[in-house]
């Protein structure tokens, strides 16, 4: 079974502002594949490149190296016009719903807009009808259609963004922090909506978030990134109890648990490695890793397959086949 989406060695660089020669490597040699109907989670913290990766898949940023294949065909080298036809299969839900809708268009106009490009034969009323159906499918009341974005709440707007992404029946939907800008009491509505729609339509998804708890609930497989590099990919049932990469372990330990009797650990010093940009040589996590060896600073670990379809980029991973235990205290 060939993968729906496959990335091999994808690298994205941003030119540094101010005219300096140093470019920032936002994504460094990322490789993974996504099957049809699968929901893959992508977690990492600021600067890990997860958003950039999502944008690279949608050709919003150019690749410096690597390949992107869609249903076996290379799409990164396609001309702009050819790729535009393909866009209806690949859609995106953004983080800030207020920013991703044109403030000067009504909600229903925004939802129906992709139809103008992908189904040019449709008349205005037909478009409105399809848009209204999409609006209904995401659970929005009909009276919201003629409103402007500043007259709706964040949760309602995000539903509209999802309606717009789904209107041309894509096969893959990239969600870039879709709930991070929403109130906690509303986040669940959007997550549940995405989950339901995915089940109903057999949609594949890449769910990007810094919130491991949300990702773990929604995605069967999870990919972890650190400073532009993919460090671990595993099914969630294996990742959560038994992470193989020290950074994954650190992320899991840092997830706050809300419990009446939770004891707060004593304050540690700021890790010296907190601010360094990724090193040119060696493992990106070496500066903060509690299990670091001399080898780690010299040799960059490649993403290697382990048991059960797992992949890890760590020299020492084979030493703890049962996963790393939680940090003490």
């Amino acid at each position: 079974m060939s993968a729906l989406l496959e990335l091999r060695g994808v690298t994205v660089r941003y030119a540094s502002p101010g005219g300096r020669r140093l470019a920032v490597t936002a994504v460094d040699d990322a490789s993974f594949s996504l099957a049809a109907g699968e929901m893959l989670g992508l977690v990492g913290e600021s600067g890990c490149g997860k958003s950039t990766l999502g944008r690279a898949i949608l050709r919003l940023v150019p690749l410096a190296a690597g390949e992107i294949r869609w249903q076996g065909r290379r799409i990164d080298a396609l001309g702009r016009r050819e790729f535009r036809g393909l866009r209806r299969e690949l859609q995106l839900v953004f983080q800030d719903p207020h920013a991703s809708l044109d403030p000067r268009m009504t909600i229903i106009e925004s939802i129906g807009e992709p139809l103008r490009s992908f189904e040019p034969g449709m008349s205005g009323p037909e478009r409105d009808e399809r848009a209204a159906a999409s609006l209904h499918e995401v659970g929005l009341a009909a009276e919201l259609s003629e409103r402007y974005p500043h007259q709706a709440s964040g949760g309602q707007l995000q539903r509209a963004v999802i309606a717009r992404a789904l209107i041309c029946k894509p096969q893959l939907i990239v969600c870039d922090e879709p709930v991070s800008a929403l109130d906690v009491s509303v986040q669940g509505q959007i997550v549940n909506l995405l989950s339901r729609i995915r089940r109903e339509r057999g949609l594949a998804g890449l769910f990007i978030s810094h919130n491991l708890a949300v990702v773990a609930g929604l995605c069967e497989r999870v990919m972890v990134m650190y400073l532009g590099r993919v460090v671990e990919i595993a099914p969630r049932v294996a990742l959560l109890p038994a992470p193989l990469h020290p950074y994954t372990r650190m992320l899991l330990d840092a997830v706050p648990r809300i419990a009446p009797q939770a004891r707060r650990p004593a304050a540690r010093a700021a890790a010296a490695g907190e601010r360094n940009p990724p090193p040119a040589v060696g493992c990106a996590f070496a500066a903060r890793c509690p299990h670091v060896l001399a080898r780690c600073r010299k040799e960059r670990p490649a993403l290697q397959p382990m048991r059960d379809g797992r992949l890890v980029a760590c020299h020492r991973a084979p030493e703890w086949p049962g996963g790393l235990p939680p940090a003490a205290g």
Partner: protein, 311 residues
């Protein structure tokens, strides 16, 4: 007498549409204790903090009383003097609220003491190589380290009370835990009280002795943290607690959520403000706004509160 005593605090904004952001809030912070105000958008929690420190926008009017160590803070002249001179420190969500980008860290801290004090304070906030950081600019540090410096700046004059507005929200998750731990330790070491505003219940769980939940400008529940987390009594608090996704949840489970959305500031509803979203609302709730009733160290504004320990 509590260190900070807020009575009947109300914040109104004038303009094309008058908006009441905070509606008659009563709150007290005892010495050396940490109180967290939890709320979502439109709850008024940030405006409450800004009103206490005189940092409201130009069209904001605060009324009521805010007493710090017996002295009235509201309407008492220059905000900066109020904060620094009177034993109150402030930590913002973004360190750029307290640190000027174009001056060295050492210079900024030394304004409030001596360079030696500055270095000692940086060590206190557990920044390694403190001396080197004195000559650096804020942008040369990571977000987490900048926030430590901002905390150091707030502590330079040994305040008795620290106001913190979403101190960890802009930080990565791995760093958040460290800042929470740092703040907790510092409060203990320096005998400092803290009034913390946040939407993040994880932060609250690690830091606060007491929690006050705000909704649409009002406090709807207040209780000790342990009691609260064991069993919140207000339907909104219960919904909020249930809505936080937990990594221990069974995979694929639906997230619990509260239907609808918080009311936009400025919309005035008769009766209880939470009623449109409340699963246990009754007819009476639409008509009469429940008063805030305190009993035995806990307070609640609800006609039909949940039983403790139940959901």
């Amino acid at each position: 007498m509590a260190l900070l005593e807020i009575t009947g605090l109300t914040v109104d904004f004038s303009g094309s549409r008058a908006v009441r952001a905070v509606d008659h809030v009563d709150l007290s912070v005892e010495r050396e204790s940490c109180v967290a105000i939890v709320g979502e958008s439109g709850s008024g929690k940030s405006q409450l903090l800004l009103a206490c420190t005189g940092l409201l926008a130009a069209n904001g009017i605060a009324s009521g009383s805010v007493r710090f160590d017996g002295r009235e803070l509201l309407g008492a002249g220059d905000p900066a003097a109020r904060i620094r001179g009177r034993g109150i420190g402030f930590v913002f969500q973004d360190a750029s609220g307290s640190l000027t980008p174009h001056r060295r860290i050492g210079d900024q801290l030394a304004e409030m003491g001596t360079p030696a004090d500055a270095e000692r304070m940086l060590e206190r906030v557990r920044l390694p190589e403190a001396r080197r950081h004195l000559s650096e600019y804020p942008h040369e540090l990571s977000g987490g380290m900048r926030q430590r410096v901002a905390i150091a700046a707030a502590l330079m004059q040994r305040p008795q009370l620290l106001f913190a507005d979403e101190p960890t929200t802009a930080l990565d998750v791995t760093v958040q835990a460290e800042i929470v731990a740092l703040l907790g330790d510092l409060c203990g070491e320096l005998g400092m009280a803290m009034l913390l505003v946040t939407h993040d219940l994880g932060v609250v769980s690690g830091l606060a002795d007491r929690i006050a939940v705000m909704y649409a400008g009002r406090i709807v529940e207040s209780a000790g943290t342990v009691d609260f987390l064991s069993g919140p009594r207000h339907p909104y608090s219960a919904g909020l607690l249930a809505a936080v996704p937990s990594i221990d949840d069974p995979p694929g489970a639906e997230l619990r959520t509260i239907a609808g959305a918080p009311p936009r500031p400025g919309t005035i509803l008769p009766g209880c403000r939470f009623e449109p979203r409340c699963a246990s609302a009754q007819a009476h709730c639409r008509v009469e706004d429940p008063p805030f009733v305190e009993q035995g160290g806990a307070g609640i504004a609800c006609h039909y509160p949940l039983q403790r320990g139940g959901r």
